[in-house]
Every structure is written in structure tokens, then in C-alpha cells.
Symmetry: C2
Subunit: 232 residues, 2 copies
DNA sequence: GAAAAACCTTGATCTAAATCAAGTTGTCGA
DNA sequence: TCGACAACTTGATTTAGATCAAGGTTTTTC
């Protein structure tokens, strides 16, 4: 494993308070692998024997039912995913596939569970992380049930503008069809939703987003930390 | 606190593996309170200083946005709720209100966090519980994004038939308007959705549900443990 | 036990969003 | 650089579900 990867991983909230000894033990069983785009890393319904850490690239988590699928989340580096399935030793509820060329670290989930047992600081970090994930999905579900698709799009744009540094112009990190699926709409409807934000000063050309005045957009979006803040 | 309540609580997955000592310490700070129906126990957005345990009655968790609200979950005894907000010491993402006369136990969340630190078995149980909650919401979100409201209703009925013992007749545990909100539809639409299940052998009269042949309903519902199983 | 309130149902209408069907633009590999 | 393929857009149409407006029940309250 690259030493740079290792130090990035160590900085993650999940690992940063671990004792050196248990961290080393955990990482001893880890291995790294590179993948091309569009590789299915995890298949929904199968048990997965690893906690995954995305070090470079991006990964999509999708839910499936009745021959259709929906994007549940898009993972950006550096972060872990499927922690819940790993600690419970349960079948994965989502498939995972690489969107770009990606580098991943695999931690055997038995080692993760052993780490929880051996190191209380790690156990507490897992608690924190799961609580955060749980709250993230609750926010998502609130958005789905309480907002229209245009409102979801407007809030997505405001949130990612902030994440991209707050400038009036920024790039969409993902393809539009995936954004549509993530927001719970069709690609056709996303196109139309984007058009309907024109009067609020939003222009999207390719991946380039421009928000003329985000106060205007905020009037429509009505963001609230209880749905839109990913840091709490 | 009634000794019967105490022993029921001790049996919960969250507490059953705790050391006696840390369990006793945790329960020393606990207190019980009875509430009439329709009492707001928790207000969305406020910090909440307790982990709640519902011992008797029922409690609704609702999400709010832009002057409308949606039922996110309905808690039946004996179970805990808002564990995530309690361990994170973060503002609640949902309000909670009693639906019936209810008895609740309050555990100060500082004591819960202390318990996690002091007792690794408890920390692991919290991990398990949060992972289960997380997976529950993921399943919910999958249902919302991948199914129509009629399909959600059909699966709800099959799931609760099983929970009620599997007989052809059983009672709805909650009012229809709340069921509608929980399933992400209006009361009017729930009425119509119920009618549309008539050809699949479903008759609902008041709170009484009858499913003539649940194989018929299963054809429509297409349940899968990856969405509908609450025990994994 | 009657009046009031809350809940549920039904029908009519409207709206958000999906689907279908072409085009158009953009990307990538030979 | 061209051709092929995938992604995106646009318009027309359909459909799922919301809203509006009455009624009809059941439950609560006095």
C-alpha cells in the first residue's frame, strides 16, 4: 500500500482515534487494488467480507428491485463504504460499482469486528460513523417524501456549490443521468428541471454550473440543516 | 420504575449483553414517565438529552419541512428511539409524539455515552443497533424510489400479516391517515390503493384486514428481504 | 344519547413526473 | 478524422398521484 494512502486513511474520523497497535493490526490484513471504470465491486444481496475504502476515483452505490435500479449514493475519496453490512456480517443492501478508474483498500470485515472488540476508541468511532450514516439516509428520505424533484435539484446544487468552494461557477461531479437517478427522477425530467431553474439564475452547460445569485435559488430551495447539512 | 419494565428493557438487544454493573449505573439515571396521547416528546431541530425507551403505547416519528410533515416511523413497545441523535449529541432530525397513552423511560444521553465508553459489550450492541437502523432506512428509501405507492402498500400488508402471526385476518396497528403518510401518499390515495388491491384478494374494513390468498398479493408485491425484511 | 369533531371514502379535476419517440451533442476508439 | 455509441435534450403523450370538494362513518365529548 502506498504510504500516502495509509496516512490519508489514518486521518479518517473512523480511524484517527484508534490505538496505534490496533490500527496496525487492522491494516496488516488490508490490501489495495486498482479497478477500471464500471466494475461491479459488490453485488446486492451477497455477503461482503470487507469494509471498503475508496482512496481514488469514485464509486456508485445502487439499489435494485424488479429489474430497475436507483443510485443511492456516490462515494468520493477518501471514504469508507458498506460499514453497516461489514459490522453486521449481513447481505449488502446495495450494489457498488466503480464510475472511474479507482483505487480501493479492502479491510477484512472479521478484522474490523475484532478491532471493535479490542479497541474501545475504534468502537466509538464506528458508533459515530454509523450514526452519521443513519442520519444521512434519514435526511435523504425526508427530502424524497417532502420535496418535489425540482426542490431536490435546487438543494443539491446549493449544497455542492458550497462543497466546491462557494464560487458562482463549479463543475458537476457526476453524470446527469446518475444525478437524476440519485435525486429520484428520470434523465428527461432532470433536463426539464434544470430549465425550470433558469428564472432563479441557474444555468447548466455540460458539467458547468453557474448560479448567478444563490439567494434567489435559496428562496426556492429552502434548505435546512435538518435535511441538507451533511456534517451533522 | 416497575420491575417488569426493567426486565423487559434488560431483554432488549441493546442492553442484554451489558455487564450488570454498567447496566445498573445506566439505569440509575433513568426515570419513567406516562404521557397522554398526542404529546410532543421531541421537537425536530432541538437537541435531545435522552435516549427514549417506549415501554407501553406507541410513538410516531415525523419529519417536517416547509410547513408539511411526514411520518417516518412508528415505534411499538418495547423499543428505543433516537439512539443516533443521543450518541452524537446532535439535533433531532425528527419530532416524536405519542399516539396513545404511553409509558416511556428516559436515559440521559450523557450516561449512554459514558456506558459506551465503559462497557465494550454495550458499545458493540450500539454498533449493531445503529447498523440495523441504518439498514432499515436504506430499505425504506429503496422502497420509496423503486416502488409505486400500491406496491408499497401491498408489501406493508404482507409484512404486517406476518408480524401479526400470519393469519388471513389481522388488524391494522395504526390509523389509515398515518399509514398513508408513512407510505408516502395522501389518505385519499390510500383509500383508492386499497380498492385497487381488491382483485388480489385484499379487503380492508375499518382496521380489519383480510388477505384471501397471500400468494396472489405476493405476485403484485414482489417482496424481497433486501427491502422488506426488518430482521436483517 | 345527541352534537361535534375527526376520520375515511368517493368523485372530479389538476399537476408532477414517467414514458415514448425523435433528434442532437458529445466522446472515444479504430 | 471518421464512425459508432452513449449521453443529453426536446416535444408529445400518458399515468401516478395530489388536490379540491362533498358526503358518509366512526369516535369523542358533554
Amino acid at each position: 500500500m502506498r504510504s500516502n494512502d495509509l496516512s490519508e486513511i489514518r486521518k479518517l474520523d473512523l480511524f484517527k482515534d484508534m490505538q496505534d497497535e490496533s490500527y496496525d493490526t487492522l491494516m496488516r490484513g488490508a490490501y489495495v487494488q486498482n479497478f477500471p471504470p464500471q466494475v461491479e465491486l459488490i453485488t446486492e444481496g451477497e455477503f461482503c467480507d470487507f469494509l471498503y475504502i475508496l482512496v481514488e476515483g469514485s464509486v456508485e452505490l445502487v439499489g435494485e428491485w424488479n429489474d430497475s435500479e436507483t443510485t443511492m449514493a456516490i462515494i468520493q475519496p477518501v471514504s469508507t463504504f458498506i460499514l453497516a453490512a461489514a459490522v453486521k456480517d449481513a447481505p449488502c443492501l446495495m450494489s457498488a460499482r466503480t464510475l472511474e478508474k479507482s483505487r480501493l483498500v479492502f479491510l477484512p470485515s472479521t478484522d474490523v469486528r475484532a478491532g471493535i472488540e479490542a479497541d474501545n476508541a475504534f468502537a466509538r468511532a464506528v458508533v459515530e460513523d454509523l450514526a452519521k450514516c443513519y442520519r444521512g439516509v434519514i435526511k435523504n428520505a425526508k427530502g424524497l417524501k417532502l420535496r418535489t424533484s425540482i426542490e431536490r435539484l435546487a438543494n443539491y446544487l446549493l449544497k455542492h456549490q458550497k462543497k466546491a468552494g462557494g464560487a458562482a461557477r463549479f463543475q458537476l461531479a457526476i453524470e446527469k443521468r446518475r444525478l437524476a437517478s440519485y435525486l429520484g427522477m428520470t434523465p428527461e425530467n432532470l433536463s426539464r428541471a434544470i430549465k425550470s431553474l433558469r428564472p432563479y439564475g441557474v444555468v447548466i452547460d455540460g458539467a458547468q454550473v453557474e448560479i448567478a445569485d444563490n439567494a434567489d435559488l435559496t428562496v426556492l430551495a429552502k434548505p435546512t440543516p435538518l435535511i441538507d447539512d451533511s456534517q451533522m
